[in-house]
Symmetry: C2
Subunit: 142 residues, 2 copies
DNA sequence: ATGTATGCAAAACATTTGCACCTGG
DNA sequence: CCAGGTGCAAATGTTTTGCATACAT
């Protein structure tokens, strides 16, 4: 149960935190911006401020419950941290986000860091392209 | 000469544009934020607005003279586009930025896109870590 | 009760835009 | 001369913060 996850992180079990966790778990989209989550809360009738959404997400990130990714265009997306590392490929047209994990790339990253005398702390790897699924809007664009 | 580069891009050869090009060419740092460039202009006594710096950089990016990278923390860095693709590894402590190009990673990216049914348009690959150079401040941090 | 959390509004950034004035070709 | 460029200030979009109030433990 998630109440214990919060307590473990030293966070009080509050309604906003529970609701935000629930949305991240049950929304159809694993990847959501703070604004997405905020709107989703409003839609379900909750009266939770956007500032709280940001505060809670930041705390969750610190606690390792959530991970944040900086996408192009200066906005972040959040997702539940399942503990399994992966990177992302994003469709420029429909916004679809898919996850991948490529061991070859992960290995090369370590190798590159070593070659440059760095100890690797993190990386951001995002592929941008166009998915060719039937409902992707780019097919209609002139 | 760079005047022709500008003309080729359909841009008038103006003082701000020349100055910004010069800074990008001759500054010790290949990677600069808009603010960095703006400050550098002020230091050399130029009276050029920050808005102009952004406008010019955006035009240069469109013209392929400059490339922009979205770094962590929601700010962009710009660099002269030499035509040679590369990615970046950044020191979290001293901000040092080094460039690399790894053919294995580039290949895997194409492969991943294919596997997911995407046509790849671009990618952002940034490694974050700590460089172990003698003057890097992290060595002093307690 | 008491230290945390929250809501709201205001602040902080990075970046963009509207507009009157200036300037390169 | 005149389209395009620039400075400045105001607007944007995203995220953070100050503060008085409300809540979990």
């Amino acid at each position: 149960m998630e109440r214990s996850e919060l307590r473990k992180a030293g966070l009080k079990v509050t309604l906003p935190r529970m609701r935000i966790l629930t949305i991240l778990e049950s929304s159809g989209h694993r990847h959501m911006s703070a604004e997405d989550i905020y709107k989703s809360l409003l839609d379900s009738g909750e009266d939770i401020g956007l500032a709280t959404v940001y505060r809670v997400l930041t705390q969750f990130e610190t606690a390792g419950l959530v991970s944040r990714h900086n996408f192009e265009g200066g906005h972040s997306v959040f997702e539940l941290d399942t503990g399994v590392h992966h990177d992302h490929i994003v469709c420029n047209d429909c916004g679809r986000i898919e996850e991948f994990m490529n061991p070859v790339i992960e290995n090369q990253q370590e190798k590159i860091a070593k070659e440059h005398g760095f100890s690797l702390a993190a990386h951001s790897m995002i592929l941008y392209g166009r998915c060719l699924t039937p409902d992707c809007p780019h097919l209609d664009k002139k």
